[in-house]
Protein backbone atom coordinates (compact mmCIF):
# COMPACT_ATOMS: atom_id res chain seq x y z
CA UNK A 1 0.00 0.00 0.00
CA UNK A 2 2.93 2.21 0.76
CA UNK A 3 3.80 2.83 -2.84
CA UNK A 4 0.60 4.74 -3.51
CA UNK A 5 1.48 8.23 -2.40
CA UNK A 6 -2.05 9.44 -1.82
CA UNK A 7 -2.60 6.66 0.72
CA UNK A 8 0.50 7.31 2.78
CA UNK A 9 -0.20 8.52 6.26
CA UNK A 10 -3.95 8.90 5.81
CA UNK A 11 -6.50 7.25 8.02
CA UNK A 12 -7.49 4.05 6.16
CA UNK A 13 -11.12 3.31 5.41
CA UNK A 14 -12.10 0.04 7.08
CA UNK A 15 -15.90 0.23 7.09
CA UNK A 16 -18.55 1.34 4.63
CA UNK A 17 -22.20 2.15 5.20
CA UNK A 18 -24.52 0.17 2.98
CA UNK A 19 -28.07 0.86 4.14
CA UNK A 20 -30.74 -1.09 2.33
CA UNK A 21 -34.47 -0.80 2.25
CA UNK A 22 -36.82 -3.05 0.35
CA UNK A 23 -40.55 -2.50 0.25
CA UNK A 24 -42.88 -5.42 -0.06
CA UNK A 25 -46.60 -6.04 -0.06
CA UNK A 26 -47.19 -8.92 2.29
CA UNK A 27 -50.07 -11.24 1.46
CA UNK A 28 -51.58 -13.19 4.29
CA UNK A 29 -52.92 -16.08 2.22
CA UNK A 30 -56.39 -17.58 2.34
CA UNK A 31 -56.37 -19.29 5.70
CA UNK A 32 -54.69 -16.47 7.58
CA UNK A 33 -57.03 -13.95 5.98
CA UNK A 34 -60.06 -15.91 7.17
CA UNK A 35 -58.57 -15.89 10.65
CA UNK A 36 -57.81 -12.15 10.54
CA UNK A 37 -61.31 -11.29 9.38
CA UNK A 38 -62.67 -13.18 12.36
CA UNK A 39 -60.45 -11.14 14.66
CA UNK A 40 -62.08 -7.99 13.34
CA UNK A 41 -65.30 -9.36 14.84
CA UNK A 42 -63.57 -10.51 18.04
CA UNK A 43 -63.87 -14.12 16.91
CA UNK A 44 -60.99 -16.56 17.11
CA UNK A 45 -61.42 -18.83 14.12
CA UNK A 46 -59.25 -21.90 14.02
CA UNK A 47 -59.31 -24.49 11.27
CA UNK A 48 -59.86 -28.19 11.63
CA UNK A 49 -57.90 -30.67 9.56
CA UNK A 50 -60.07 -33.36 8.02
CA UNK A 51 -57.01 -35.61 7.96
CA UNK A 52 -56.21 -35.52 11.68
CA UNK A 53 -59.19 -33.78 13.28
CA UNK A 54 -56.88 -31.28 14.96
CA UNK A 55 -57.79 -27.61 15.26
CA UNK A 56 -55.06 -25.15 14.26
CA UNK A 57 -54.92 -21.55 15.40
CA UNK A 58 -53.69 -19.30 13.96
CA UNK A 59 -54.26 -21.37 10.82
CA UNK A 60 -51.44 -21.20 8.31
CA UNK A 61 -53.16 -22.98 5.45
CA UNK A 62 -52.05 -26.53 6.03
CA UNK A 63 -52.21 -29.42 8.41
CA UNK A 64 -48.44 -29.86 8.63
CA UNK A 65 -48.66 -33.52 9.56
CA UNK A 66 -50.68 -34.49 6.51
CA UNK A 67 -49.63 -31.70 4.15
CA UNK A 68 -53.22 -30.95 3.18
CA UNK A 69 -55.29 -27.77 3.51
CA UNK A 70 -57.37 -27.17 6.62
CA UNK A 71 -60.64 -25.63 5.61
CA UNK A 72 -63.29 -26.29 8.19
CA UNK A 73 -63.52 -23.17 10.31
CA UNK A 74 -64.00 -23.69 14.03
CA UNK A 75 -64.47 -20.94 16.55
CA UNK A 76 -62.36 -21.38 19.65
CA UNK A 77 -62.67 -19.57 22.96
CA UNK A 78 -60.77 -16.41 23.79
CA UNK A 79 -59.61 -17.99 27.01
CA UNK A 80 -57.24 -20.84 27.65
CA UNK A 81 -54.37 -22.27 29.60
CA UNK A 82 -50.74 -21.18 29.79
CA UNK A 83 -48.62 -24.22 28.87
CA UNK A 84 -45.27 -22.49 29.16
CA UNK A 85 -43.84 -18.98 29.05
CA UNK A 86 -40.76 -16.79 29.00
CA UNK A 87 -39.97 -13.45 30.63
CA UNK A 88 -38.31 -11.32 27.97
CA UNK A 89 -35.70 -8.90 29.19
CA UNK A 90 -33.66 -8.25 26.06
CA UNK A 91 -33.68 -5.30 23.71
CA UNK A 92 -33.08 -5.29 19.97
CA UNK A 93 -33.38 -3.18 16.84
CA UNK A 94 -37.01 -2.67 15.83
CA UNK A 95 -38.49 -4.09 19.03
CA UNK A 96 -41.97 -2.84 19.84
CA UNK A 97 -42.31 -4.00 23.45
CA UNK A 98 -40.99 -2.55 26.69
CA UNK A 99 -38.95 -4.96 28.81
CA UNK A 100 -39.56 -6.98 30.83
CA UNK A 101 -42.65 -8.65 29.47
CA UNK A 102 -44.10 -12.15 29.63
CA UNK A 103 -44.60 -14.06 26.42
CA UNK A 104 -46.51 -17.28 26.95
CA UNK A 105 -47.77 -20.23 25.00
CA UNK A 106 -51.54 -20.18 25.46
CA UNK A 107 -53.65 -23.21 24.59
CA UNK A 108 -57.04 -21.72 23.81
CA UNK A 109 -60.03 -23.82 24.79
CA UNK A 110 -61.03 -25.75 21.67
CA UNK A 111 -57.64 -25.50 19.95
CA UNK A 112 -55.04 -28.22 19.53
CA UNK A 113 -52.00 -25.97 19.30
CA UNK A 114 -50.80 -23.27 21.67
CA UNK A 115 -50.20 -19.74 20.40
CA UNK A 116 -47.87 -17.03 21.66
CA UNK A 117 -49.45 -14.21 23.65
CA UNK A 118 -48.55 -11.57 26.22
CA UNK A 119 -49.56 -12.05 29.85
CA UNK A 120 -50.36 -8.90 31.84
CA UNK A 121 -52.31 -7.62 34.86
CA UNK A 122 -50.29 -9.85 37.18
CA UNK A 123 -46.73 -9.85 38.50
CA UNK A 124 -44.60 -11.74 36.02
CA UNK A 125 -43.10 -13.92 38.74
CA UNK A 126 -46.58 -15.35 39.37
CA UNK A 127 -47.10 -16.61 35.81
CA UNK A 128 -47.00 -20.41 35.72
CA UNK A 129 -48.05 -23.36 33.55
CA UNK A 130 -51.69 -24.27 34.08
CA UNK A 131 -52.69 -20.64 34.65
CA UNK A 132 -56.10 -19.87 33.16
CA UNK A 133 -56.10 -16.68 31.09
CA UNK A 134 -58.48 -14.70 28.93
CA UNK A 135 -57.92 -12.31 26.05
CA UNK A 136 -58.16 -8.59 26.63
CA UNK A 137 -59.28 -7.00 23.40
CA UNK A 138 -58.74 -3.49 22.16
CA UNK A 139 -61.77 -1.22 22.22
CA UNK A 140 -64.39 -2.14 19.63
CA UNK A 141 -63.71 1.00 17.59
CA UNK A 142 -60.06 -0.02 17.27
CA UNK A 143 -60.74 -3.53 16.00
CA UNK A 144 -59.13 -4.39 12.68
CA UNK A 145 -57.80 -7.45 10.89
CA UNK A 146 -54.80 -8.04 13.11
CA UNK A 147 -53.76 -10.24 15.97
CA UNK A 148 -52.87 -7.01 17.71
CA UNK A 149 -56.60 -6.80 18.49
CA UNK A 150 -55.68 -8.95 21.47
CA UNK A 151 -53.77 -6.54 23.66
CA UNK A 152 -52.74 -9.31 26.01
CA UNK A 153 -54.09 -12.13 28.15
CA UNK A 154 -54.90 -11.74 31.84
CA UNK A 155 -55.65 -14.27 34.55
CA UNK A 156 -59.31 -15.33 34.79
CA UNK A 157 -59.07 -16.09 38.48
CA UNK A 158 -60.19 -19.68 37.81
CA UNK A 159 -58.40 -22.60 39.36
CA UNK A 160 -55.36 -23.86 37.47
CA UNK A 161 -56.08 -26.31 34.70
CA UNK A 162 -55.06 -29.85 35.62
CA UNK A 163 -51.89 -31.02 33.87
CA UNK A 164 -53.78 -33.75 31.94
CA UNK A 165 -55.66 -31.06 30.00
CA UNK A 166 -52.51 -29.63 28.45
CA UNK A 167 -49.92 -32.35 28.92
CA UNK A 168 -49.55 -32.92 25.20
CA UNK A 169 -48.41 -29.34 24.85
CA UNK A 170 -45.48 -29.10 27.25
Amino acid sequence: MAKIQALEGVEPVTMIDAPARLDYTFTAGRATSRFLKGLEKKKLLGERSAATGKVYIPPRGADPVAGVPTDEQVEVADCGTVTSFCVVNVKFYGQAMECPYVCALVLLDGADVAMFGLIQEMPYEDVHPGLRVEAVWVDDNELSTTLENIKYFRPTGQEDAPLETYKEHV
Binding site: L22, F26, G29, G61, A62, V65, G67
Partner: protein
Protein backbone atom coordinates in the same frame (compact mmCIF):
# COMPACT_ATOMS: atom_id res chain seq x y z
CA UNK B 1 -23.44 -44.05 -12.44
CA UNK B 2 -26.85 -45.24 -11.32
CA UNK B 3 -29.68 -44.72 -13.82
CA UNK B 4 -31.99 -42.03 -12.51
CA UNK B 5 -35.04 -40.62 -14.27
CA UNK B 6 -37.71 -37.98 -13.95
CA UNK B 7 -40.96 -39.89 -13.52
CA UNK B 8 -43.38 -37.11 -12.60
CA UNK B 9 -43.61 -33.35 -13.00
CA UNK B 10 -46.23 -30.87 -11.83
CA UNK B 11 -46.43 -27.11 -11.77
CA UNK B 12 -48.78 -24.42 -10.56
CA UNK B 13 -50.44 -21.87 -12.72
CA UNK B 14 -47.85 -19.17 -13.34
CA UNK B 15 -49.07 -15.60 -12.98
CA UNK B 16 -47.81 -12.08 -12.37
CA UNK B 17 -49.28 -12.35 -8.92
CA UNK B 18 -51.11 -15.06 -7.04
CA UNK B 19 -52.19 -12.80 -4.17
CA UNK B 20 -54.88 -15.20 -3.05
CA UNK B 21 -52.43 -17.70 -1.63
CA UNK B 22 -49.39 -17.78 0.60
CA UNK B 23 -46.41 -19.91 -0.39
CA UNK B 24 -47.70 -23.05 1.32
CA UNK B 25 -51.11 -22.70 -0.27
CA UNK B 26 -49.48 -22.20 -3.68
CA UNK B 27 -47.24 -25.23 -3.29
CA UNK B 28 -49.56 -27.80 -1.71
CA UNK B 29 -51.64 -28.66 -4.80
CA UNK B 30 -48.44 -29.08 -6.83
CA UNK B 31 -47.01 -31.52 -4.29
CA UNK B 32 -50.29 -33.44 -4.25
CA UNK B 33 -50.37 -33.63 -8.02
CA UNK B 34 -46.77 -34.69 -8.56
CA UNK B 35 -47.30 -37.67 -6.25
CA UNK B 36 -50.90 -38.53 -7.15
CA UNK B 37 -50.45 -38.62 -10.92
CA UNK B 38 -48.11 -41.61 -10.51
CA UNK B 39 -49.93 -43.01 -7.47
CA UNK B 40 -46.92 -42.49 -5.22
CA UNK B 41 -47.42 -42.74 -1.48
CA UNK B 42 -45.36 -40.10 0.36
CA UNK B 43 -43.75 -42.78 2.51
CA UNK B 44 -41.85 -44.04 -0.54
CA UNK B 45 -39.98 -40.74 -0.93
CA UNK B 46 -36.51 -41.36 0.51
CA UNK B 47 -35.22 -37.82 0.17
CA UNK B 48 -36.78 -34.42 -0.38
CA UNK B 49 -34.99 -31.29 -1.52
CA UNK B 50 -36.29 -27.81 -2.29
CA UNK B 51 -35.06 -24.54 -3.75
CA UNK B 52 -36.29 -21.07 -2.74
CA UNK B 53 -35.01 -17.80 -1.36
CA UNK B 54 -36.21 -15.60 1.47
CA UNK B 55 -35.42 -12.32 -0.25
CA UNK B 56 -38.17 -12.52 -2.85
CA UNK B 57 -41.05 -12.60 -0.39
CA UNK B 58 -39.27 -10.57 2.29
CA UNK B 59 -39.79 -13.32 4.85
CA UNK B 60 -36.99 -15.08 6.66
CA UNK B 61 -37.13 -18.88 6.78
CA UNK B 62 -39.79 -19.15 4.07
CA UNK B 63 -38.71 -22.73 3.31
CA UNK B 64 -39.47 -23.64 6.91
CA UNK B 65 -43.10 -22.60 6.45
CA UNK B 66 -43.52 -24.47 3.17
CA UNK B 67 -42.48 -27.68 4.89
CA UNK B 68 -46.03 -27.53 6.28
CA UNK B 69 -47.30 -28.28 2.81
CA UNK B 70 -45.58 -31.59 2.19
CA UNK B 71 -46.65 -33.60 5.24
CA UNK B 72 -43.20 -34.10 6.74
CA UNK B 73 -44.37 -36.52 9.41
CA UNK B 74 -43.02 -38.92 10.51
CA UNK B 75 -39.81 -36.85 10.13
CA UNK B 76 -38.25 -37.01 6.67
CA UNK B 77 -34.77 -36.88 5.23
CA UNK B 78 -34.78 -33.42 3.69
CA UNK B 79 -32.58 -30.57 2.56
CA UNK B 80 -32.90 -27.14 0.97
CA UNK B 81 -30.79 -25.05 -1.37
CA UNK B 82 -31.01 -21.27 -1.56
CA UNK B 83 -30.89 -21.70 -5.34
CA UNK B 84 -33.15 -22.47 -8.26
CA UNK B 85 -34.68 -25.87 -7.54
CA UNK B 86 -32.80 -27.33 -10.54
CA UNK B 87 -29.89 -27.47 -8.10
CA UNK B 88 -32.15 -29.13 -5.54
CA UNK B 89 -32.76 -31.75 -8.23
CA UNK B 90 -28.99 -32.08 -8.55
CA UNK B 91 -28.65 -32.68 -4.80
CA UNK B 92 -31.42 -35.29 -4.92
CA UNK B 93 -29.76 -36.97 -7.91
CA UNK B 94 -26.51 -37.18 -5.92
CA UNK B 95 -28.38 -38.81 -3.01
CA UNK B 96 -29.85 -41.35 -5.46
CA UNK B 97 -26.33 -42.06 -6.72
CA UNK B 98 -25.38 -43.18 -3.22
CA UNK B 99 -27.64 -46.15 -3.76
CA UNK B 100 -29.56 -46.05 -0.46
CA UNK B 101 -32.85 -44.66 -1.70
CA UNK B 102 -34.86 -45.13 -4.87
CA UNK B 103 -37.26 -42.18 -4.93
CA UNK B 104 -36.69 -38.47 -4.30
CA UNK B 105 -38.96 -35.44 -4.48
CA UNK B 106 -37.81 -31.99 -5.53
CA UNK B 107 -39.70 -28.72 -5.45
CA UNK B 108 -39.12 -25.04 -5.97
CA UNK B 109 -41.27 -21.95 -5.70
CA UNK B 110 -41.33 -18.25 -5.29
CA UNK B 111 -43.73 -15.48 -4.74
CA UNK B 112 -41.99 -12.68 -6.53
CA UNK B 113 -44.99 -10.40 -6.55
CA UNK B 114 -44.68 -9.06 -2.97
CA UNK B 115 -41.44 -7.18 -3.74
CA UNK B 116 -39.94 -5.11 -6.50
CA UNK B 117 -37.96 -7.86 -8.26
CA UNK B 118 -35.37 -5.71 -10.07
CA UNK B 119 -34.58 -3.93 -6.79
CA UNK B 120 -34.52 -7.15 -4.80
CA UNK B 121 -32.09 -8.81 -7.21
CA UNK B 122 -29.56 -5.99 -6.71
CA UNK B 123 -29.02 -7.50 -3.27
CA UNK B 124 -27.35 -10.50 -4.98
CA UNK B 125 -24.44 -8.37 -6.10
CA UNK B 126 -21.02 -7.58 -4.65
CA UNK B 127 -22.11 -5.67 -1.51
CA UNK B 128 -19.22 -3.17 -1.69
CA UNK B 129 -18.85 -1.93 -5.25
CA UNK B 130 -22.06 -3.02 -7.02
CA UNK B 131 -25.03 -3.28 -4.66
CA UNK B 132 -24.72 0.30 -3.26
CA UNK B 133 -25.36 1.59 -6.82
CA UNK B 134 -28.63 -0.44 -7.06
CA UNK B 135 -28.05 -1.66 -10.61
CA UNK B 136 -31.27 -3.48 -11.45
CA UNK B 137 -31.41 -6.85 -13.18
CA UNK B 138 -32.72 -5.47 -16.48
CA UNK B 139 -29.90 -2.92 -16.67
CA UNK B 140 -27.26 -5.58 -16.05
CA UNK B 141 -28.80 -7.81 -18.71
CA UNK B 142 -28.77 -4.84 -21.07
CA UNK B 143 -24.99 -4.49 -20.55
CA UNK B 144 -24.57 -8.10 -21.63
CA UNK B 145 -27.00 -7.67 -24.51
CA UNK B 146 -25.08 -4.62 -25.79
CA UNK B 147 -21.81 -6.54 -25.60
CA UNK B 148 -23.40 -9.29 -27.68
CA UNK B 149 -24.79 -6.78 -30.20
CA UNK B 150 -21.31 -5.28 -30.53
CA UNK B 151 -20.01 -8.62 -31.81
CA UNK B 152 -22.26 -8.15 -34.84
CA UNK B 153 -23.48 -11.73 -34.63
CA UNK B 154 -27.05 -11.05 -33.58
CA UNK B 155 -29.62 -8.31 -33.86
CA UNK B 156 -32.51 -6.75 -32.03
CA UNK B 157 -34.69 -8.22 -34.80
CA UNK B 158 -33.50 -11.75 -33.94
CA UNK B 159 -34.40 -11.07 -30.31
CA UNK B 160 -37.89 -9.89 -31.25
CA UNK B 161 -38.35 -13.07 -33.23
CA UNK B 162 -37.30 -15.12 -30.22
CA UNK B 163 -39.89 -13.30 -28.09
CA UNK B 164 -42.54 -13.79 -30.74
CA UNK B 165 -41.80 -17.50 -31.21
CA UNK B 166 -41.65 -18.17 -27.45
CA UNK B 167 -44.96 -16.54 -26.70
CA UNK B 168 -46.59 -18.25 -29.65
CA UNK B 169 -45.31 -21.63 -28.43
CA UNK B 170 -46.70 -20.82 -24.98
CA UNK B 171 -50.22 -20.81 -26.42
CA UNK B 172 -50.09 -24.60 -26.08
CA UNK B 173 -48.95 -24.37 -22.45
CA UNK B 174 -51.89 -24.07 -20.07
CA UNK B 175 -49.62 -22.92 -17.22
CA UNK B 176 -47.88 -20.13 -19.11
CA UNK B 177 -48.35 -16.56 -18.04
CA UNK B 178 -47.53 -14.55 -21.15
CA UNK B 179 -48.65 -16.00 -24.48
CA UNK B 180 -50.14 -14.97 -27.78
CA UNK B 181 -49.27 -13.65 -31.17
CA UNK B 182 -46.74 -10.85 -31.23
CA UNK B 183 -45.60 -9.57 -34.59
CA UNK B 184 -41.83 -8.93 -34.44
CA UNK B 185 -42.24 -5.80 -36.57
CA UNK B 186 -44.75 -4.38 -34.16
CA UNK B 187 -42.88 -5.10 -30.94
CA UNK B 188 -39.62 -3.83 -32.44
CA UNK B 189 -41.28 -0.45 -32.78
CA UNK B 190 -41.69 -0.23 -29.00
CA UNK B 191 -39.59 2.14 -26.92
CA UNK B 192 -36.53 0.79 -25.15
CA UNK B 193 -36.89 -0.17 -21.52
CA UNK B 194 -33.15 -0.12 -20.94
CA UNK B 195 -31.46 0.06 -24.34
CA UNK B 196 -30.82 -2.23 -26.13
CA UNK B 197 -33.61 -4.16 -24.39
CA UNK B 198 -37.30 -3.61 -24.91
CA UNK B 199 -40.09 -4.94 -22.77
CA UNK B 200 -40.52 -8.00 -24.99
CA UNK B 201 -36.85 -8.93 -24.42
CA UNK B 202 -37.48 -9.35 -20.70
CA UNK B 203 -39.12 -12.18 -18.81
CA UNK B 204 -42.44 -11.67 -17.08
CA UNK B 205 -42.35 -11.41 -13.30
CA UNK B 206 -43.97 -14.57 -12.02
CA UNK B 207 -45.37 -16.29 -8.96
CA UNK B 208 -45.31 -20.05 -9.22
CA UNK B 209 -44.19 -23.44 -8.02
CA UNK B 210 -43.08 -26.75 -9.51
CA UNK B 211 -42.20 -30.24 -8.33
CA UNK B 212 -40.51 -33.32 -9.75
CA UNK B 213 -40.24 -36.94 -8.65
CA UNK B 214 -36.97 -38.71 -9.45
CA UNK B 215 -36.61 -42.47 -9.30
CA UNK B 216 -33.76 -44.90 -9.91
CA UNK B 217 -33.45 -48.04 -12.01
CA UNK B 218 -36.41 -50.44 -11.81
CA UNK B 219 -38.38 -48.12 -9.56
CA UNK B 220 -38.39 -45.56 -12.37
CA UNK B 221 -39.72 -48.21 -14.77
CA UNK B 222 -42.40 -49.15 -12.26
CA UNK B 223 -43.53 -45.55 -11.83
CA UNK B 224 -43.44 -44.47 -15.48
CA UNK B 225 -44.08 -46.25 -18.76
CA UNK B 226 -41.38 -44.18 -20.36
CA UNK B 227 -39.15 -42.53 -17.77
CA UNK B 228 -37.08 -39.51 -18.82
CA UNK B 229 -33.62 -40.79 -17.99
CA UNK B 230 -31.03 -38.27 -16.84
CA UNK B 231 -27.97 -39.00 -18.99
CA UNK B 232 -25.99 -35.94 -18.05
CA UNK B 233 -26.34 -33.49 -15.15
CA UNK B 234 -23.68 -30.86 -14.58
CA UNK B 235 -23.42 -27.33 -13.29
CA UNK B 236 -20.73 -24.65 -13.15
CA UNK B 237 -20.38 -21.09 -11.89
CA UNK B 238 -18.54 -18.08 -13.29
CA UNK B 239 -17.14 -15.06 -11.50
CA UNK B 240 -19.79 -12.53 -10.54
CA UNK B 241 -17.77 -9.45 -11.48
CA UNK B 242 -19.01 -8.48 -14.91
CA UNK B 243 -15.75 -6.70 -15.62
CA UNK B 244 -13.64 -9.85 -15.38
CA UNK B 245 -16.07 -12.11 -17.25
CA UNK B 246 -16.30 -12.73 -20.98
CA UNK B 247 -19.92 -11.63 -21.20
CA UNK B 248 -20.52 -13.00 -24.69
CA UNK B 249 -19.21 -16.50 -24.08
CA UNK B 250 -20.94 -18.09 -21.11
CA UNK B 251 -18.07 -20.24 -19.97
CA UNK B 252 -19.90 -21.95 -17.11
CA UNK B 253 -22.66 -23.04 -19.50
CA UNK B 254 -20.13 -24.27 -22.07
CA UNK B 255 -18.30 -26.29 -19.41
CA UNK B 256 -21.50 -27.76 -17.96
CA UNK B 257 -22.86 -28.58 -21.41
CA UNK B 258 -19.72 -30.29 -22.51
CA UNK B 259 -19.41 -32.27 -19.25
CA UNK B 260 -23.06 -33.31 -19.53
CA UNK B 261 -22.44 -34.67 -23.02
CA UNK B 262 -24.93 -32.46 -24.87
CA UNK B 263 -23.10 -32.90 -28.15
CA UNK B 264 -22.63 -36.67 -27.95
CA UNK B 265 -25.94 -37.31 -29.69
CA UNK B 266 -28.70 -35.64 -31.64
CA UNK B 267 -30.83 -33.27 -29.54
CA UNK B 268 -34.49 -33.24 -30.55
CA UNK B 269 -35.51 -30.23 -28.51
CA UNK B 270 -34.20 -27.94 -25.82
CA UNK B 271 -35.79 -26.22 -22.85
CA UNK B 272 -33.36 -23.37 -22.25
CA UNK B 273 -33.69 -21.19 -19.19
CA UNK B 274 -32.92 -17.94 -20.97
CA UNK B 275 -35.00 -15.28 -19.21
CA UNK B 276 -33.95 -12.52 -21.64
CA UNK B 277 -34.33 -13.03 -25.40
CA UNK B 278 -30.65 -12.46 -26.20
CA UNK B 279 -29.70 -15.12 -23.61
CA UNK B 280 -31.22 -17.77 -25.88
CA UNK B 281 -28.61 -16.79 -28.48
CA UNK B 282 -25.85 -17.14 -25.86
CA UNK B 283 -27.21 -20.43 -24.53
CA UNK B 284 -27.53 -22.03 -27.98
CA UNK B 285 -23.95 -21.06 -28.75
CA UNK B 286 -22.58 -22.27 -25.44
CA UNK B 287 -24.26 -25.63 -25.90
CA UNK B 288 -23.48 -25.89 -29.63
CA UNK B 289 -27.14 -26.35 -30.59
CA UNK B 290 -27.83 -26.17 -34.31
CA UNK B 291 -30.76 -24.73 -36.23
CA UNK B 292 -32.43 -28.15 -36.30
CA UNK B 293 -33.07 -28.17 -32.54
CA UNK B 294 -36.52 -27.04 -31.50
CA UNK B 295 -36.11 -24.43 -28.75
CA UNK B 296 -38.51 -23.99 -25.84
CA UNK B 297 -41.67 -25.69 -27.05
CA UNK B 298 -43.20 -24.70 -23.68
CA UNK B 299 -42.56 -21.03 -24.32
CA UNK B 300 -39.62 -20.97 -21.92
CA UNK B 301 -38.87 -18.33 -19.32
CA UNK B 302 -40.12 -15.59 -21.65
CA UNK B 303 -43.59 -17.03 -21.10
CA UNK B 304 -43.27 -17.62 -17.33
CA UNK B 305 -40.27 -17.13 -15.08
CA UNK B 306 -41.03 -18.21 -11.52
CA UNK B 307 -37.74 -17.44 -9.81
CA UNK B 308 -36.21 -20.44 -7.99
CA UNK B 309 -38.46 -22.81 -9.97
CA UNK B 310 -38.01 -21.76 -13.61
CA UNK B 311 -34.92 -23.94 -14.08
CA UNK B 312 -36.68 -26.93 -12.55
CA UNK B 313 -39.66 -26.20 -14.82
CA UNK B 314 -37.36 -26.46 -17.85
CA UNK B 315 -36.28 -29.94 -16.75
CA UNK B 316 -39.88 -30.89 -16.03
CA UNK B 317 -41.18 -29.61 -19.36
CA UNK B 318 -38.45 -31.49 -21.22
CA UNK B 319 -39.10 -34.65 -19.20
CA UNK B 320 -42.86 -34.47 -19.84
CA UNK B 321 -42.24 -34.38 -23.59
CA UNK B 322 -39.83 -37.30 -23.40
CA UNK B 323 -42.30 -39.27 -21.26
CA UNK B 324 -45.03 -38.50 -23.80
CA UNK B 325 -42.81 -39.81 -26.60
CA UNK B 326 -42.54 -36.43 -28.32
CA UNK B 327 -38.78 -36.77 -28.64
CA UNK B 328 -35.96 -39.08 -27.63
CA UNK B 329 -33.23 -36.77 -26.44
CA UNK B 330 -33.51 -33.32 -24.96
CA UNK B 331 -31.44 -30.78 -23.08
CA UNK B 332 -32.76 -28.54 -20.31
CA UNK B 333 -30.88 -25.74 -18.57
CA UNK B 334 -31.18 -23.57 -15.48
CA UNK B 335 -29.49 -20.25 -14.90
CA UNK B 336 -29.19 -17.88 -11.97
CA UNK B 337 -27.20 -14.84 -10.99
CA UNK B 338 -26.74 -11.65 -13.00
CA UNK B 339 -26.01 -12.20 -16.69
CA UNK B 340 -26.17 -16.00 -16.53
CA UNK B 341 -23.49 -16.39 -13.87
CA UNK B 342 -24.34 -19.93 -12.78
CA UNK B 343 -25.67 -22.64 -15.08
CA UNK B 344 -26.91 -26.19 -14.90
CA UNK B 345 -27.38 -28.56 -17.83
CA UNK B 346 -29.51 -31.70 -17.83
CA UNK B 347 -29.58 -34.15 -20.73
CA UNK B 348 -32.69 -36.35 -20.80
CA UNK B 349 -33.40 -39.42 -22.91
CA UNK B 350 -36.25 -41.81 -23.48
CA UNK B 351 -35.58 -45.44 -24.24
Amino acid sequence: MRDVAVVSFAQSEHARALPGVNEVEMLMPVIGQVRDQIGLDKSRVGFTCSGSTDYLAGQAFSFVMTLDGIGAWPPISESHVEMDAAWALYEAWVKLQMGEIDVAMVYGYSKTSPGDLPDVLTRQLDPYCYAPLWPDSVSLAALQAQALLDTGSTSEREWAEIASRSRASAKNNPNAQLKGDFDPDVILADEYLVAPLRKHDCPPITDGAAAIILAADDTARELSKRPAWIRGLEHRIDAQSLGVRDLVNVKSLQLAGSAAGVSTGKIDFAELHAPFTYQEVLAKRALGLGADVQINPSGGALAANPMMAAGLVRIGEAADRIMAGEGDRAVATATQGACMQQNLVCVLEGE
